[in-house]
């Protein structure tokens, strides 16, 4: 599914990731933990083709993105759902149109778009707010719309960067359970969080990022 080998990333000679190797199996559910600034977002950005690594090799869905042309890389991106920490919605579009965007980009027939979007809006409990501009929604509602947008296309890979960052404990649990529902449909899920304690409450593999290196959190904790 996703395979990173000896990935390094630096910005203006400042290293963020030193030597990271990671394999995500199809249908897996993973946490990446680490302190703020540890490079979690950078790692996720590389995994979802939002950034290129400075060094190292990567395979995504069996292909090496570095060897693909831009059109094929765009096709790979359409197989990935992304939940950003700050939601990143089009504020002047309605909640419904924001959720529909990945399907429209992928060329899904309009009837299918309408039905899928309606289902997702009902699932995140925002059917009645569907026609409001996203800019008029609360932070929590925006995050639910962002999650709906990320999974509406039934992606093969879902990456979420601090999706529980602004949520209280109960909402954070619900969010993770929602991701688990998606995972049960076959989507591989990778969640980045700074809250190691929260991630450890779930029975999913965890990787810890520190000093630009990745380690298996469970083994580290046992040690």
């Amino acid at each position: 599914m996703v395979r990173l080998e000896n990935i390094a990333k630096w910005y203006d000679a400042a290293p963020v990731l030193a030597d990271v190797s990671l394999t995500l199996d199809p249908g897996g559910f993973y946490f990446v933990t680490g302190a703020s600034g540890a490079g979690k977002s950078t790692l996720l950005n590389i995994a979802c083709l939002a950034e290129r690594p400075s060094r190292g090799r990567m395979r995504l869905f069996g292909a090496d993105p570095a060897t693909l042309d831009r059109s094929r890389r765009a096709a790979l991106r359409r197989r990935i759902g992304i939940v950003f920490q700050d939601a990143r919605l089009f504020d002047d579009l309605s909640a419904r149109d924001n959720v529909a965007l990945p399907l429209r980009i992928a060329g899904t027939p309009p009837r299918e778009v309408r039905d899928n979007v309606a289902d997702l809006l009902a699932w995140v409990g925002l059917t009645k707010r569907a026609d409001l501009p996203a800019g008029n929604l609360s932070a929590g509602e925006r995050q639910r719309i962002a999650i709906a947008r990320a999974i509406v296309g039934r992606p093969d890979l879902l990456v979420a960067d601090e999706p529980t960052g602004h949520a209280d404990d109960e909402v954070a649990w619900l969010l993770v359970h929602a991701f688990e529902s998606v995972n049960r449909l076959g989507t591989t899920v990778l969640i980045a969080t700074h809250d190691i304690g929260f991630a450890s409450r779930f029975d999913h593999p965890r990787f810890h990022l520190g000093a630009g290196m990745l380690s298996e959190a469970a083994a580290e904790e046992e040690a």
């Binding site: 979802c48 083709l49 939002a50 950034e51 290129r52 831009r70 059109s71 890389r73 765009a74 096709a75 790979l76 991106r77 359409r78 197989r79 990935i80 992304i82 990143r88 089009f90 002047d92 579009l93 149109d97 965007l101 990945p102 429209r104 980009i105 992928a106 060329g107 899904t108 027939p109 039934r154 093969d156 449909l185 076959g186 989507t187």
Partner: protein
């Protein structure tokens, strides 16, 4: 998860360019297009005018014979003219034509009967075969010593230098207008895309194809630029129409006067409008491609 083959992308509208960016662009481009259209129209008018005037002057001469010349001498003069090689036509202006020529100086109501108005003879030379003017002058002087042959070819040569200067100035104005259109369009496109930067990056992450993004942005700027071009060219056309009754164009020699409001003007205005849209389109394409190329 079972996955079907991805469907063929359909046409969809990306949420780009929905802000204020570009709203003023058509009006700014319209002003540039107006200047360019007027310069282009003026260039064609000047070129046509000078060319036709030069042609007319370089083949025209006027023979002025004193009013006292007897009919017999006039007949002899006409015979000399008709037999001179290189003279294509000889036309004696009648009294009415002479009166029209003198009207600007004497006024329309002054009778010419009592005035010693000279006989005027309009001569057209063969463009391919110039007459021997020195020999002709000698022959004419032997018949009517006071006869005066006015050769306009020197004037035509003087006009050539003046016309070249005017045409260069107008061509420079046209080039400046088109360059300004390109500069303004490029600047406006960059500003517009800067406003769309976040949306552009997000669409890229969601898997939007570069070509679809570039095509939609280019189409929008083509429409904005084209609208500016049409407005500017339309204003230039109205200016030409407004100037005609005032005589600024109507007083030009006939070939130019008819030429500038005919099909050449339409062609020039359409070309300026199309060029404005095209420049905006190319600026947008170049800018958006550069910006997309920076994304991974």
């Amino acid at each position: 998860m079972s996955r079907q083959a991805p469907p063929r992308p359909r046409r969809y509208t990306l949420p780009l360019g929905r802000g204020d960016a570009g709203r003023l662009l058509p009006w700014v481009l319209a002003m540039m297009a107006y200047v360019a259209a007027l310069a282009a129209g003026g260039l064609i008018a000047a070129h046509t005018t000078w060319r036709d005037s030069r042609t007319a002057l370089s083949t025209a001469m006027t023979l002025e014979v004193p009013a006292a010349a007897s009919p017999a001498r006039m007949q002899t003069l006409m015979a000399v003219l008709h037999h001179t090689a290189g003279i294509a036509s000889v036309h004696v202006l009648d009294q009415a034509a002479t009166a029209r020529l003198l009207a600007p100086w004497l006024g329309p109501s002054v009778p010419l009967d009592g005035l010693p108005v000279p006989h005027l003879i309009d001569l057209r030379t063969d463009p391919g075969r110039s007459p021997d003017l020195a020999g002709l002058r000698r022959e004419l002087a032997s018949v009517v010593p006071e006869a005066r042959l006015a050769d306009h070819r020197g004037l035509a040569e003087g006009m050539q230098g003046a016309s070249a200067t005017v045409e260069i100035v107008l061509a420079a104005a046209l080039a400046a207008g088109l360059t300004l259109i390109a500069a303004v369009a490029a600047f406006a496109v960059r500003a517009g895309l800067a406003a769309d930067r976040g949306g552009l990056a997000l669409l890229h992450l969601l898997g939007a194809d570069d070509r679809a993004i570039a095509k939609q942005i280019a189409r929008r700027w083509l429409l904005l630029g084209g609208a500016g071009g049409v407005i500017g060219a339309g204003a230039a056309f109205l200016t030409v129409l407004a100037l005609r009754p005032a005589g600024a164009i109507g007083r030009l020699p006939a070939p130019a006067g008819t030429g500038i409001v005919g099909w050449p003007l339409w062609v020039v205005l359409a070309a300026v409008a199309a060029a404005t849209g095209l420049i905006a389109l190319l600026s947008a394409q170049a800018t958006v491609r550069r910006r997309l190329a920076r994304l991974p």
